[in-house]
């Protein structure tokens, strides 16, 4: 039973027609090449978009260049950039979660913007290779402590409000236990299941954490760090802290919002969420405990880069525009950013006083924070410039095993160091 030749030809023709038809309805992306009437800016946010949209309008009015802002979901953003690099379709500018070795050599030098006197950009946090500046952070994030103010008030327990008169972790935990028993709450504290957040626990206890040795491998941490991790695991006793957060992925944000938890250690990005999403009780940002070191974990919100393509000049103009202090002030206020530039007068448009106070507190805390607070992201930048990267931080998995009693603290620390070094090979 064969198919006749005419039938075969018929199938072929139908196939060709279908492919052509599909090809015809594909709109080309290269129609605007050459002229710089419009540029693209990719970034990722779940909430903070308005600031860029406003700036883009002003930029177009001033320079006649339209900025097309594309909000790319966080999940898959890195993959998309990698594929776009292969397709020669990278955007003109972007704010990226991290720089990829695959396209790092396609970046423009932003040193004229980063080094401009007027901008007062924090030079410790930019990504620079020799004198070439590859990326400027769009904003800074910091870890910090939140309390359920209603529970504290109900239990008539006091708490510090000024970072210079902060408490120790012991004092904080004693206060939290008092509040929990008096107010009949469930847990003292929930703590984000994150390698970045555990870093600030280590730093505030005087440890140095997991740092890079001069040969860009991770060295075994100091005894204080090991002790701090052991202390942290002990708190996971389903009274002080619920075990579920670090062992089985319970959502600490949701637990805190239930009103059953006295305090939550997370970071500045929660402020906007809490301002809208907590209506059943009063909350407040309080200073991070120091035992005895004043520290936090300073991280970067997004890294602003400009790609070296046919619209390079226009792209750089846009990045320059973003970081001019007057424009950056508006951006930081609207998007609720902790600024990368110093000397700005920021007035965040929150209705809730607690949110306004929180931002003021974070800015103060960052000024007081020990320089080690920014070392986590600095290590990642160092690795990147050496052409290496960490895909999966082993801290979460190893700490979960430790808290579950599957291994002791020394084994945990050894596994973390080995896991990190294995990835940077």
């Amino acid at each position: 039973m064969g198919i006749s030749a005419t039938v075969r030809k018929g199938y072929l023709a139908a196939g060709v027609v279908a492919v052509l038809a599909l090809g015809a309805c594909s709109s080309g992306s290269d129609s605007a090449s050459g002229d710089a009437k419009s540029i693209t800016f990719w970034f990722s946010t779940s909430a903070q978009a308005q600031g860029y949209t406003d700036l883009a309008k002003e930029f177009e009015a001033k320079e006649g260049i339209k900025v097309e802002i594309v909000n790319v979901p966080n999940e898959g953003y890195q993959d998309k950039l990698r594929q776009a690099a292969q397709a020669n379709s990278l955007p003109d500018t972007a704010s990226v979660p991290s720089i990829d070795t695959l396209w790092v050599n396609q970046l423009q030098d932003l040193s004229s913007i980063a080094n401009a006197e007027a901008n007062k950009i924090n030079k410790d946090l930019i990504t620079a290779q020799d004198s070439k500046v590859l990326a400027i952070p769009s904003d800074v994030t910091a870890a910090g402590l939140f309390i359920n103010k209603s529970l504290f008030d109900k239990a008539k327990v006091a708490y510090p409000t000024d970072p210079s008169q902060t408490w120790t972790w012991d004092e904080f935990l004693a206060a939290a236990t008092k509040v929990r028993t008096a107010a009949n709450a469930k847990y003292d504290l929930v703590y984000d299941n994150s390698p970045a957040r555990i870093r600030s626990w280590i730093y505030t206890h005087g440890g140095k954490g997991f740092q890079l040795a001069p040969d860009t491998t991770f060295a075994a941490p100091d005894a204080t760090t090991v002790q701090a991790l052991a202390d942290f695991a002990k708190l996971n006793d389903d009274k002080v802290m619920p075990k579920s957060v670090w062992t089985s992925g319970a959502d600490p944000n949701a637990l805190f919002k239930s009103g059953q938890v006295v305090a939550y250690y997370s970071g500045v990005w929660q402020v906007a969420d809490f301002a809208k999403g907590i209506t059943d009780f009063e909350w407040a940002s309080v200073p991070t405990p120091a035992q005895p070191v004043h520290a936090t974990d300073i991280n970067l919100g997004g890294k602003v880069v400009a790609f070296n393509n046919d619209k390079a000049a226009a792209g750089k103009k846009w990045v320059d525009f973003i970081f001019q202090p007057a424009n950056y002030t508006k951006l930081a206020q609207t998007n609720g950013y902790l600024p990368i530039e110093s000397g700005l007068t920021l007035n965040y448009p929150f209705e809730k006083q607690a949110a306004k106070d929180a931002f003021a507190l974070y800015i103060k805390e960052m000024e007081m924070a020990d320089p080690i607070s920014a070392s986590g992201q600095a290590n990642l930048t160092k690795l990147l410039l050496a052409g290496k990267s960490i895909q999966e931080d082993p801290t979460k998995a190893e700490m979960a095993k430790f808290i579950n009693g599957e291994q002791d603290v020394q084994k945990t620390v050894d596994n973390i160091v080995a896991g990190l070094n294995q990835q940077i090979g």
């Binding site: 594909s26 779940s46 909000n71 979901p73 929660q270």
Partner: protein
């Protein structure tokens, strides 16, 4: 082939399979339907809670003790989801992709499955193996080469770049192949004797017989394309071409999830799928899978 041999087997066992009394029969029926109802509850309750929660204000989603019904129902989540991205446009894009991909998938799968079932040729066998091979690799592994092909075809940053790679599916092809194998060759030969051409036989006799398979694959294919995330995200650059899942995913941030908005957006993105299922399910469930003459 399995389907072809089942009916006689069933027929043979039927008289012997009911030896018990009427009460034993009833007990078995009750047991069976209670299992079904249990499954309905197990699947239905979380979905129902999910839909009802989408009407809770953001501040009440996590309040303790948990409540099933919202005290002050609100549609704020829906309103915010609708305005947080160009919902209508993304919706239309997704609909275009899903409908186009589904139609093309059905045509391609039916034709390929028919050829594999009814024609004998050495290259058809190789072709069958090639189709099977596509199921042996996880999607992530072929992502990069697939991307290069689609880019070189000039389909990057266009909706057709999302549709084309999805058209050929091994699942669809083999669904049709297995079905057409059960259609007796007598039917085909009778059509040939009556002077029906090959294409005409396929379109006028075989396709109507395959209606239940067409509708089943339509539901599956539509659901696959509707829920596609990573591929559209990589292929599409222009926000005017984004699909719904990209929009929904943008609500999930690196550190925060805006739950009330996400719930609203998810419910809205679910509605078309449920609607499609409700429309087509009766065709699928009432269909007699054994078509044509019975040998």
């Amino acid at each position: 082939m399995a389907i072809a041999t089942r009916p006689p087997a069933l027929r043979r066992t039927k008289p012997n399979a009911r030896p018990g009394s009427r009460t034993g029969d009833l007990a078995r029926k009750i047991a069976a339907s209670s299992v079904m109802w249990l499954l309905v509850v197990a699947y239905g309750f979380p979905t129902l809670w999910f839909v009802i929660s989408s009407f809770k204000p953001a501040g009440k989603l996590f309040s303790y003790p948990l409540t099933f019904f919202p005290e002050n129902p609100t549609i704020d989540g829906y309103v915010e989801a609708w305005t947080s991205f160009d919902f209508a446009r993304y919706f239309i894009n997704t609909l275009l992709v899903a409908v186009a991909a589904t139609l093309l998938t059905i045509v391609a799968s039916a034709a390929a499955g028919y050829a594999l079932a009814k024609y004998q040729s050495w290259w058809l066998k190789i072709f069958a193996v090639c189709i099977l091979l596509t199921t042996m690799l996880p999607g992530e592994t072929i992502l990069a080469p697939l991307f290069l092909v689609v880019r070189n075809l000039g389909l990057y940053n266009s909706l057709s770049g999302v549709v084309v790679p999805a058209v050929i599916t091994a699942t669809g092809t083999f669904m049709f192949r297995q079905f057409f194998v059960t259609v007796p060759n007598d039917l085909l030969e009778a059509a040939r004797i009556d002077g029906s051409g090959e294409i005409s036989t396929f379109i006028r006799i075989m396709m109507p017989l395959a209606k239940p398979i067409i509708l089943t694959l339509a539901i599956f294919s539509f659901q696959w394309r509707w829920n596609d995330y990573l591929w559209p995200l990589i292929i599409l650059n222009d926000p005017n071409q984004f699909t719904l899942q990209i929009g929904v995913a943008s609500i999930i941030g690196a550190q925060n999830v805006n739950w009330s908005v996400l719930l609203g957006a998810s419910v809205m993105s679910m509605v078309p799928l449920v609607a499609i299922y409700l429309v087509f399910q009766k065709y699928v469930m009432n269909a007699d899978i054994n078509a044509g003459l019975k040998d």
